[in-house]
């Protein structure tokens, strides 16, 4: 794109584009939430989306995950135009979202939450006729998913409400990682966490990238973004103001672009 002239990290430059938005507009009556935004996520990268309140971050994310329908514009997954009718469609297409409130059933245990809405049924007649759940396999897979992410939990049998904020976030991320085939979108994953737990969650996000999934990270926390992101997509007034990298720009530069005090 012509307005984005910043150099990109070599690894992501060559990678194919997984998810793309072209000139997406979303208006509510006279209010314009998205004023023709472009978006580009490459395979295997962590793309941070930053912007001031009201810049259109969450509207953009909702448009990408099917939670709302754009007034106009195009969204492409692996280069093919898609029209998500709802979040379920996006999920079926391989896009997982970690919501800010995590979407967990607190009284249910970790395995139940990991498989919530996607429960595994027992093999054979027990599953097909008697609709019996395969609790053992779900438990094993949950265990494996958590160890794959090298995430520490006291016991997989704990109810989610017995976990700390960081641990819950870990479970939510693990759920996304377990089912995502293409990319994971995370909405403020560190907002409610302390320093140590934030570190753990950032580590989790890195291990998701290591598994070859692309990550979209919505965050207000600049140090976190600079710590982990490969590229930074900056929203301003319903448009993409710039895409920069932590290597080429400083936090002050990014804040300046966000507020309109500077251009990339």
């Amino acid at each position: 794109m012509s307005d984005v002239n910043s150099p990109m990290a070599p690894a992501t430059l060559s990678a194919p584009v997984v998810l793309e938005a072209r000139n997406v507009i979303k208006t509510y009556g006279h209010v314009t939430a998205l004023a023709g935004v472009d978006f580009e996520l490459r395979a295997g990268e962590i793309l941070a989306v930053v912007g001031d309140n009201g810049a259109g971050k969450s509207t953009l994310i909702k448009a990408l995950t099917g939670a709302l329908h754009p007034t106009s514009g195009e969204i492409l997954l692996d280069g093919i135009p898609v029209h998500f009718k709802g979040p379920l469609d996006a999920r079926h297409a391989g896009i997982e979202t970690v919501y800010q409130d995590l979407a967990m059933a607190p009284a249910l245990d970790i395995a139940s939450n990991l498989f919530l809405g996607r429960e595994l049924r027992a093999p054979g007649i027990l599953g097909s006729v008697f609709r019996r759940l395969d609790k053992k396999r779900m438990r094993q897979e949950a265990q494996r998913a958590m160890s794959d992410l090298k995430f520490r939990l006291p016991s997989i049998d704990n109810a989610v409400e017995a976990l700390s904020g960081g641990q819950r976030q870990g479970v939510a991320v693990a759920r996304a990682a377990l089912f995502a085939r293409k990319l994971v979108i995370m909405d403020e994953p560190t907002a409610a966490l302390g320093v140590r737990e934030t570190g753990q969650v950032l580590e989790l996000i890195r291990s998701i990238r290591e598994r070859g999934l692309a990550v979209v990270l919505i965050s207000h926390n600049m140090p976190n973004v600079f710590d982990i992101a490969d590229r930074i997509h900056i929203m301003r007034l319903g448009r993409r103001a710039a895409v920069v990298t932590p290597k080429t720009h400083s936090m002050n530069d990014v804040v300046a672009i966000m507020t309109g005090a500077a251009t990339a």
């Binding site: 009284a107 245990d109 049998d157 704990n158 109810a159």
Partner: protein, 337 residues
Amino acid sequence: MSQNCNRTFVRSNRLKAGAAALGLIIGASFGTGQAAAEDVIVGLVTKTEVNPFFAKMRQAAEARAKEKKVKLIARAGKFDGDNEGQVAAIEDLISAGAKGILVTPNNSSGMLDIIKKARAAGVLVIALDTATDPADAVDATFATDNFEAGVQQGTYARMAMGDKKAVVAMLDGTPGGTVDTFRHDGYLKGFGIKEGAPSIAGAAITNGAQDKGQVGMENLLSKNGDINAVYTINEPAAAGAYAALKSFGKENDVMLTSIDGGCAGVRDVKDGKIAATVMQFPYKMAAMGVDAVVEYAATGKKPSGFVNTGSFLITDKPVKGLESKDTAWGLKNCWGD
């Protein structure tokens, strides 16, 4: 479902403590309740706990049981019409080894099976206040003749009104109830009119409660302002009706009568709010019932048939040719204080 073990562990400990505490409460209350195994047990199952009529019945039964040195276990339905609760109570009393069971059935036909079982097990069953349907399902019935009581109410109302043309309002209890039907029909007979007669302005369901009696009366008065005679199923309903009549300014123009003989009702008669009421005698039913069980335990002799425990017209404005007692007598013999 797996649960957090720490949380539930604490929880079960707390519950254990709770159980122990409750155990203490119950244990403590056994001090008075315990009885020797050879005691004769008399079961009493009343319609509800709250109605003063049944409270009186229960007190009288307790007093008589104490006098006769037998043990009384009293139970009641949870609400007016609670058949299931009374059936369970009878089952429990059979289990407890009751020699005889006195019951005021909430539903005349609802408990026939359990009564049959009780009698087959050698338990004497006596219906108090309300007959079963058929009446010979129990060994005997000690009750007010409610039809006769209704007739007394209706006759008084008609005679006291003289030649005035009557417009009647019926404040019924619970539709379908046996007592309700008997009193209602008795009143109409005593008043000399038939069900569906044009002089009946309408009927309302009060469940024998004051608030519903008031609402029912208000509605009937709105419907027909000419109402000048009001039948009520009992005195609380009559008290409600009086309040409504008063708010319409008609309390002096209407012949308001009732049945029961509760002390509050007799006072209302004394105060002129109710013209007359028909008194029945719950303590007589209860005492006679306990006596019958005691005799059965001692001699094996069972009472049978319908035993009318009587009813008396109470009024301070007697009419000629109709036997009645004044409120001074009424207050001495009333129940519910």
